[in-house]
């Protein structure tokens, strides 16, 4: 939140999430609720504590089970993952899962951004594509998986298509929004200098829409990962999906949990990276918004 300076006020950050100042945070003139925080590390205590508690419960509940058939304790999962990570088979499966992901994801970004730019820039284009975009946005994309299979078989092609379909909508929508909601003043300013349409686009609109585009990339990446996993659990011939199926069939639950954990970690890491990049690229916008 912004540092507020109002009449009779104390310049103090109000209501930040954790990491507040030592001692009492003062009351700003507009009446923001004062937080009394003993020390800076208190929020972290809560955070780490709760995570630890959850892991502890996971562990104890898992151990309390008579059998590890249905629920595996935390340490069990971690050690299974560790074991698996030593095998070549695991990494092979990972690779086979990743290949369609990367292609589908890249395709989603390229097509999504291109479409998004067009839709954001040209109202006509937006109007024409509106029924399709709206429908695809509301539809659970997983229902299109059988269609993809009928169209392209069960090889990489259909998998790439599925990942693409999962990712492209969000990339498009967010890119379009990023372009559409570029500050009107900026555009008018550019026009006042008699810029050509193309130059205006390249030098004003595009840079100004970058935050929106990056948001689209981040969210679209998350969706593409979902698509990747959907492929693995609905079309199981190769990759991680095959491992899941095998472990389920053989009731090797620890390994099953481990594979799922690997997928989850992959998704989380990608999200974190995408968020970092987005933040870096959009920094000017955040600063601007913070100052107002």
């Amino acid at each position: 939140m912004a540092l507020e300076q109002r009449e009779g006020s104390v310049p103090v950050v109000a209501h930040q999430t954790g990491g507040a100042v030592d001692g009492e945070v003062g009351v700003v003139d507009n009446g923001t609720v004062s937080i009394e925080v003993a020390h800076r590390w208190v929020p972290w205590l809560f955070r780490i504590g709760s995570v630890g508690l959850v892991l502890l419960i996971w562990e104890l509940y898992g151990r309390a089970q008579e059998t590890t058939l249905f629920f595996v304790p935390f340490t069990g999962v971690v050690s299974a993952l560790w074991e698996l990570a030593q095998t070549a088979e695991f990494w092979d499966a990972y690779r086979q899962t990743l290949i369609p992901f990367v292609w589908g994801w890249l395709l989603a970004l390229v097509v999504g951004i291109a479409l998004g730019l067009l839709i954001g820039r040209f109202r006509t284009f937006e109007a024409i594509t509106k029924p399709y975009v709206t429908f695809l946005n509301a539809l659970p994309v997983s229902t299109l998986v059988p269609i993809a299979v009928i169209l392209l078989g069960i090889g990489y092609a259909s998998r790439i298509l599925v990942v693409f379909l999962f990712g492209v909508i969000e990339v498009t929508l967010n890119t379009a929004a990023g372009v559409r909601y570029v500050n009107r003043d900026l555009v008018e300013m550019g026009e006042s200098f008699n810029a050509t349409q193309w130059r205006l686009f390249r030098k004003v609109i595009l840079p100004a829409s970058t935050p929106g585009i990056m948001a689209g990339v981040r969210i679209g990446t998350g969706r593409a990962v979902v698509g990747m996993v959907v492929v693995e659990i609905l079309l199981v011939a190769v990759g991680m999906g095959r491992l899941i199926l095998r472990y389920r069939g053989r009731f090797q639950s620890a390994e099953l949990f481990a594979v799922v954990l690997a997928l989850i970690l992959f998704g989380i890491v990608l999200q974190v990276v995408a968020r970092r990049i987005e933040r870096r690229v959009s920094r000017w916008k955040y600063e601007m918004e913070r100052a107002t």
Binding site: V54, R123, L234, G267, I268
Partner: protein, 264 residues
Amino acid sequence: MRALKKQNKNRLLSLAGLLAGLVIWEIIGRLELSPAFPPVTAVLGAVFEVWSSPRFLDALKESLISIAIALPPSILFGVAFGLLIGRYKPVEWAFDPLVNTFLSLPLVALIPVLFLIFGLGRGSILATIIIYTFFIVVVNTAAGVRTTDHQIVEMATSFGASERQILSRVVLPSALPLMFAGIRISTGRAIRAVIIAEQVIGLIGLGGLVQRLGGAFAVEQLYAVILFVGLFGLLSMEAVSFVERRALPWILAQEETEPALQGA
């Protein structure tokens, strides 16, 4: 007046775009370029047949039951939780990592685990719906609570309001717009959740129907079901929007919280 004309022009364009697409599809279908694209007319024909068939209606009933059982409690608890997280810092600190983790990970990946724990039945489907919707409602409600104008809280305190009164008469009304946004988003997600979970099981509900039709290469009927699901999703979100607008006449448009947009 000009704005209205522009709006109508855009609507016409949308309609034109839709029709153009349908025509192209029809041509592709007639040319039999791929079994995946039957002519539109065949699909439309299948629509009437499928939407009235007992097989479809049974599947629809199954899916709706799952949503009806899982969604309301998820929303209720999500709102309660979100209120606590938004209002009390220690609660936020404690549950932040959990909530954020669940929002960052591909929830689909948890489906095999849920099936392991709850078995291949309705239990897993309900669990899926809950994890898809609960956290979204929490996050949006918490964000709504945070939009509470502190000046209003101070004003209420100056008139002697108790914490309970502040919660019910200031915080809750302030949180309503984003809370509703969360509810609207989670309605859409509940539909996605039930479909994907049913697809994984492959037997019951609309998801199961999709898988079976796909397996049988019954493409026209498959499209008919897909069309229904898409339209149903649209309509239910519209319905929530409608309720939203009636309940909150003083608020125009509000944007949903971003984290809510991601995930499965």
